[in-house]
Amino acid sequence: MKKRLGAVAVVAVALLALAGCSGSGSSAPASADKDQAGTIRVLVANFPANNVGQGVFDQIVKVFHKSYPKVKVESDFVPYDSLNQKISTSLASGQNYDVISAGIGWVQPLADLGAIQDLTKLGITKGDLEKSAYPSFVAPMLWKDDVYAVPVVANPRVLAYSKSAFEKAGLDPDKAPQSLEELREDAKKLTIRDASGNITQTGFDFWAPPSNYRQQFVAFMGALGGQEFTGEKPTFASKAGVDALQLIHDMVTVDKSSTYGYQNSAKTALVTTGEAAMGFASPYVDCSTDQGGIGDKCKDLVYFNLKDKKEVEYVGGRVAAVGEGSKLPQASLAMVKAFQDQKVQEAISKIDVGVPIDKNAGDSAFVKSNPASTFAFKNLDKGVFEYGGATYLDFRAKFGPALDQVILGKAQAQPTLDDLKKVAEGGR
């Protein structure tokens, strides 16, 4: 039995070695080739599989076809949750995609796995990235100091408070909290309860279901000057991290200025629906009075950043990369660059609920269309991100439940973060 299994494993490895043999990446810089023919396969996470999503993708293909008019493009749209299954099966069968569009945080694990290839060898340098993106966006794109992906769209989480709620609680509606302690105190004052003690107005909404306080933690830690990872080393078990986690615990479980893990039916931010006085929010808000729009509530909202030692904005985002083993690396690179086209970024922002990464997109109609996008875009330079090293995906899966333990008071912050640090350093 063992021999047979060993044989299967060997065969599998051999198969993959054979499959992955091609395409170690040409070193010539990308140039248009009007005669190149072939097909590239593009894996895109989170494009809605409807006419709108298809329309946006067609736009990207049009830009791509300017430089490679004869290369056909096959798209594969998958929800974010199933992205890894697609990558797993395609790598397992030796049929990696030519272009992969995933999220920030995926770059290092995929690079380590050999699923995406070195873009610097194909001709994109850090300097190129810095031409259009803020410096803070460059580090998450790197692996062993080479560029492995380009940023396309940013998905920030902004913060907002309600002016009227501030007034009612006796706070100055024109002053956002200037420190995390002040945020905590304000949240306490803003929490309104009914006779039986149930919250009717949340003081500070974290906008997180259970086991998903990760990004909020990164934001709080960032405000205290800390970072999740520095290079590939985990640095979240620092004083900033411990204090941030402790503060979240205090706000949720001690002050009870929010209900742990609570979300409304539509899973939208409570501060925009009026259920909370202050909290995390989406970088897009519909101020119309149409279906789904919040109309006049828009005027009541003030957007602000978490501030303490630093002023930060949590940013997630979409990246594009070239798959390892691609038979058409230059064409794939051109496709990746097509993702970066300004108009394309704007179109993707709409369906991604984000904002364009390009520094020069501030004038775009989309960014100017609503106060949340405008604010989010303006503060991209203060971005803090959730990403790490090769072990990032491992670590991320354990991160959420571990934070739960501390937030619910079942564990202490420092030892929990220390254990997580071990996972991030490569243990399991």
């Binding site: 494993a9 259970p210 209900t259 491992d394």
Partner: protein
């Protein structure tokens, strides 16, 4: 083939049939294999073979198939030291031990009720079947509303009885029992159908004869209906155990294993290991362990069958 064998003269055939000659037995066995082979071959290619690959993967540290080294039993050793795995295992055992008997009992009762000649029973049967076809999003949304800690129906009911409110799915101590309720509710329709189908085969004449002999409803059930359900009962038991042990969609949609791993179950943990963490070798080892547990539980379940002949 078989018809050629039976081309022998009829009289000789009848003699053979009465004596159960080897010719007939051979013909039956051959026909048996012919009828069995498609399903058997199919299962070998599409289920047994992938399972063997999984076992093979469990001996490697592959993150993705084909990229890893053989580490023999390291994964298994590590798993038993993994707190998350142990929690998932315990949660799964607890879930199965509760949902299987409760689910089966309720389904049987409902099927019995729906088998009685009452008016409109076709309509009632359809009602009980509907959760099986209701969109998963609708099911999860409504249950999330019921369990909503702020304004949900469940807390309103508790308040009505003067009991304090609960966090339900956001409370690590209550989340798993809360999911068990949904599990029973969801599993009802399918089990009920199987019981209903089986109840159709219970001889009405036997029931009538028993009734004429003065047996009351319970005696009729225990002596006529229950034994007739034997084979199907075994099926429901095995599939309930396997199904509950492999509960996934419910957790995936409602709680994602949280809060704090309180609803982390084996299949969800395997899924997390395989795809969220991209550690397919490790996840495969976990699958093998889970498989062993399911096998043991099915074996134990089989021991509860009153009539082993029906296995």
């Amino acid at each position: 083939m078989t018809s050629a064998t039976l081309a022998a003269p009829r009289r000789a055939e009848r003699r053979s049939a009465r004596r159960g000659s080897p010719g007939i037995a051979r013909a039956k066995a051959r026909a048996g294999w012919i009828l069995l082979v498609p399903a058997l071959t199919h299962s070998v290619i599409f289920m047994a073979l992938p399972t063997i690959i999984v076992v093979g993967l469990s001996l490697t540290d592959a993150r993705v198939v084909g990229r890893g080294d053989v580490v023999w039993l390291d994964n298994y050793i590590e798993l038993f030291q993994d707190q998350t795995f142990r929690t998932a295992l315990l949660n799964t055992l607890a879930y199965t031990i509760v949902v299987v008997p409760v689910g089966m009992a309720v389904a049987l009762l409902v099927a019995l009720g729906l088998n009685a000649p009452i008016r409109g029973r076709a309509a009632y049967r359809t009602l009980f079947y509907i959760p099986v076809v209701t969109s998963a999003v609708a099911v999860s949304t409504v249950w999330l509303w019921i369990y909503n800690p702020a304004s949900g129906l469940a807390n309103e009911v508790l308040a009505f009885f003067g009991i304090g409110r609960s966090g339900w799915l956001t409370d690590p101590d209550i989340a798993l029992p809360a999911l068990m309720v949904i599990g029973v509710w969801q599993g009802l329709g399918s089990k009920m159908i199987i019981y209903l189908a089986a109840l159709q085969g219970v001889s009405q004449e036997l029931v009538e004869a028993a009734r004429l002999d003065g047996a009351n409803r319970w005696q009729i059930f225990w002596n006529v209906t229950w034994p007739a359900l034997g084979p199907v009962q075994f099926f429901v038991l095995v599939t309930s155990i396997a199904g509950s042990f492999q509960v996934f969609d419910l957790v995936y949609v409602m709680t994602q294993g949280g809060p704090a791993n309180a609803t982390n179950v084996l299949t969800f943990d395997i899924f997390t290991n395989a795809f969220s963490r991209l550690q397919i070798g490790y996840a495969s080892a976990e699958t093998v362990i889970m498989f062993v547990f399911v096998g043991v539980m099915i074996y134990l379940g089989r021991l509860t069958q009153r009539d082993r002949k029906d296995y």
